[in-house]
Structures are given as structure tokens and as C-alpha cells.
């Protein structure tokens, strides 16, 4: 759950945003910045207060509710930024290894980006549904406790 999220963020940040300045004018950039920032502020506040066992219910509620909007917004932002990098990636063939070489290995960064985008198709629904299940488990319980 955490690994795909961290991996996708690192992919979008360094090989895409940092490498291709052309992506900075994409609509995706403000989208993902807002989504990531809001999520992280809430998430880390939650973790910190959790250590002290002082998490106010409103924070738990926000953590398990805002994702409903922030996840799709963030994913849209990420995909738009990567898409904006396609033309430059195809043209410059940066980060790629070509034939021939001693280890008969090749890596085409442009195709790696395409596969990365395609992976969102199975991964996003899985992670999104997982968050809903967590939400049901965590928020469902506190409601019962109140009753």
C-alpha cells in the first residue's frame, strides 16, 4: 500500500518533473501539489498524535474521508504531468541503455513511462478500494463506540 504510493511519487518527482522542465506548465502540477500537501499534513499529524495516543476524532475523520476526493485529484495530476513529459522523453531518449552491450541489456525510458502510466489502471482501483475498506473499519467502529 505504502510502496506503490512512495514509488509513484518518486517517479513523478525526479524522472519526470525534475528532468523535464516542460512539465511545469501542466495543469497536473498544481493538482498534485494540492493533493499531496493536504494529504501529508493530515497524515503526519495523525501519525504524530497517534504516538501520543491523542488523536482527535476530527483528524481521524479527515484522514479517512478527504482521500475520496484527494486520491483521484492527485492521480489526475500525476498522470497529466507524466503525459506532459512524453514528447521530450521520446525525443531525447534520456535514461536509456541501447544495444549492443556486454550484458545484452536494454532500457527504454520512454516505454518505461508508458508502462508506468498503464500500471495506474489496475493499481488505482485497488488502492482506492483498500482505502474505503479501511475507512469502513476505522470510522465504522468509532460510530458503534459512540452508540
Amino acid at each position: 500500500m505504502v510502496v506503490p504510493q512512495v514509488f509513484s511519487r518518486l517517479m513523478v518527482l525526479w524522472p519526470v518533473l525534475y528532468t523535464f522542465k516542460g512539465t511545469h506548465t501542466s495543469l497536473g502540477l498544481p493538482l498534485l501539489l494540492v493533493a499531496w500537501s493536504v494529504t501529508e499534513v493530515i497524515r503526519y499529524s495523525f501519525y504524530f498524535l497517534n504516538i501520543l495516543k491523542q488523536v482527535p476524532h476530527i483528524l481521524t475523520f479527515l484522514r479517512y474521508t478527504l482521500f475520496i476526493v484527494l486520491y483521484p485529484v492527485g492521480v489526475t495530476g500525476e498522470l497529466l504531468c507524466v503525459y506532459a513529459a512524453f514528447p521530450d522523453a521520446a525525443r531525447t531518449r534520456v535514461y536509456s541503455i541501447t544495444f549492443p552491450n556486454a550484458l545484452n541489456f536494454s532500457f527504454d525510458f520512454y516505454y518505461a513511462l508508458i508502462i508506468f502510466v498503464l500500471l495506474y489502471i489496475p493499481c488505482f482501483p485497488m488502492l482506492y478500494m483498500h482505502m474505503f475498506a479501511l475507512r469502513h473499519k476505522v470510522l465504522g467502529n468509532t460510530q458503534k463506540k459512540r452508540e
Partner: protein, 312 residues
């Protein structure tokens, strides 16, 4: 058959619980002491039509072992008002279908890419002759998967008739994906073969390991006569390749890993190495589980490692 001559008793009510949630599902009526677990499964299906027997796993305890279809209720100590747990194994698919998809697929896909189709290589596909190494690699790949298909048909004995449908997609993605990845590189017009010495030495190692793997499959087949449920510790037989049983619990996986290492050295191809490592990781997980299970079942289990002699 096999039960005492006595009155067949009615089992008026049998309570079925969901193995995953522990919750009560339904009660079954009209079973007998001579009924089998398969009868129980059929009865469950009458109430929950989507659960055909192949999709059910019946247990005495919520997290207990699976019972066999042929087990008789009386022998299991089940009477009226007894509890049984049922697990839904999800949509199932026949294993023969799976193996065709998992083994025939990679074999044919590799042979297609071996032709250097335009889809993968564009116009430059035929810009250079195919090296001897590439020919031999195609032969080895085909041999490996053809052997697997034949073993599936004639050698292996399967404990379950079906497997979960999701596994089909997961396994096929793995097999087909890696096949395309390895095949693309080995059959590339700019592929650089290693020296002939390396090629032939690795080919010999590959064939030896394939034979070793086959020897272990035969030994395992002979370990349990058909129909018996007896579990036995595997030991070397007259085939010298089976001596590896003295060092590891799962020498079939050891030999398989050996084959793929040999294939990697034969082609000096990093993607092939990645495929070997991925396969090794999965087989190590299986071997460690099997090894643990042997040690649990047999107090006198000999000193062995799971998959790598002396190491793992």
C-alpha cells in the same frame, strides 16, 4: 465400505459457518453418518448455488486443515448439531487450462519473437543474421516448456482439481511478461553472443539441470502410489541426480534455478538473469514452506536445507 455394520444414522442438522468471518451461514438437513464431505458440499450448493463443490473448502475448525471430499462424516466424528466451516475459494478454473496458458503461452510467444516480428523490432528486425547462440537459446526455451507440458500431462499428480481464477491472470502476467522481456533481448538483431566455450559449457549445464529436475519429478511421483494419502520423506533412488535429496528438501527447485542460471550464462543476458532471480525468489518461498512442513510432520526428518545446499 470401510464402516462397521451398524445402522446408518441420520444427521438431522449440520450447522455451517463461514471460515473467513466465523459467522453462521446455514443449516443442512437430511445428511447421514455415511455421507461424505462431497455430499456436504453439494448440500451447501443447493442453498448457495454459486458455490459449486470445487469452490468450497470444508474444515472442522475455522482455521483448520481442509477435509477431503471422500472423508465420511461418521469417521470424522460428526453427529447431528455438529459444526463445520466452509471457505469460499473464489471462482475456479481447471488446472489443465491454467497450465496450457502458463506453459504453452510462453513457449509460443518466445518462438514468435524468435522470428523477429515487425511489431517488436520494426524494419531493422532482419538487419543481421541470427547467431548460433540465439538458435540454441530458442531450442532450450522451447525444450523447457515442452517438458513442463508433458510433465503436467503425464508425470505430476495434483491434489486439487482447480485453482482460483485470479491466479491465472497473475501467473500469466508473470510468465508472458518475462517471456517477452527475455525473448526481446536474446533475439534482438544487435544481440552479442558470448564465446562458444561459454555457450557450450552453459548448454551442458542447462541440459544436466533439466534432466535433474525431471529425475526429481519422477522420484516424487513414485513416492506416493495413486490413491494413497500417505506422506513420506523423499530419499535418493537409483538415479544419481536424486542424490541431491540428501542436501535439500526441494531439489526440483534447485535444478530449475540451475537451468535458468545456465540459460543466463549461455546468453549472457541480464534480463534472463532477472528472470532467474524472480523465479528463485518464488521457489525459495515454496521450498521453505515445504521444508517447514516436512520438519513438522516427521520427527526424524534428516538434516537438510530447503533449496540451496548448505545455504538456504
Amino acid at each position: 465400505p470401510g464402516t462397521h455394520w451398524r445402522e446408518v444414522m441420520e444427521i438431522e442438522k449440520l450447522d455451517i459457518y463461514n471460515a473467513k468471518s466465523g459467522k453462521f451461514v446455514t443449516s443442512l438437513y437430511g445428511l447421514k453418518s455415511t455421507s461424505t464431505i462431497l455430499d456436504v458440499k453439494k448440500s451447501v450448493q443447493q442453498q448457495k448455488t454459486v458455490l459449486h463443490p470445487g469452490r468450497q473448502e470444508v474444515r472442522l475448525e475455522q482455521k483448520g486443515k481442509s477435509l477431503q471430499d471422500s472423508d465420511v462424516l461418521q469417521k470424522l466424528g460428526i453427529r447431528s448439531d455438529s459444526k463445520l466451516y466452509v471457505k469460499d475459494l473464489g471462482p475456479q478454473i481447471g488446472w489443465k487450462t491454467v497450465f496450457f496458458a502458463e506453459y504453452a503461452g510462453p513457449m509460443l510467444l518466445y518462438l514468435w519473437i524468435y522470428q523477429r516480428p515487425w511489431l517488436f523490432y520494426g524494419d531493422k528486425g532482419h538487419s543481421s543474421p541470427i547467431s548460433l547462440c540465439t538458435h540454441i537459446a530458442a531450442g532450450c526455451w522451447t525444450f523447457h516448456y515442452a517438458k513442463r507440458l508433458l510433465e503436467t500431462q503425464f508425470v505430476h499428480r495434483f491434489s486439487h482439481g482447480t485453482m482460483p481464477l485470479f491466479n491465472l491472470f497473475k501467473n500469466c502476467t508473470y510468465y508472458w511478461g518475462f517471456t517477452a522481456y527475455v525473448a526481446y533481448h536474446v533475439n534482438h538483431p544487435l544481440f552479442t553472443p558470448p564465446s562458444n566455450l561459454q555457450l557450450y559449457a552453459a548448454l551442458a549445464a542447462f541440459l544436466l539441470c533439466e534432466f535433474g529436475n525431471f529425475s526429481i519429478h519422477m522420484a516424487l511421483r513414485n513416492l506416493r502410489p495413486p490413491g494413497s494419502k500417505e506422506r513420506k520423506i523423499p530419499y535418493p533412488d537409483s538415479n544419481p541426480m536424486t542424490q541431491l535429496f540428501n542436501a535439500v528438501s526441494c531439489p526440483n527447485y534447485t535444478y530449475e534455478f540451475g537451468s535458468w542460471v545456465a540459460f543466463t550464462v549461455m546468453t549472457q543476458c541480464l534480463p534472463a538473469g532477472m528472470f532467474a532471480l524472480a523465479g528463485f525468489y518464488q521457489m525459495a518461498v515454496w521450498a521453505l514452506g515445504k521444508h517447514r512442513s516436512y520438519k513438522k510432520d516427521f520427527k526424524n526428518y534428516p538434516q537438510r536445507k530447503a533449496i540451496l545446499p548448505f545455504l538456504l
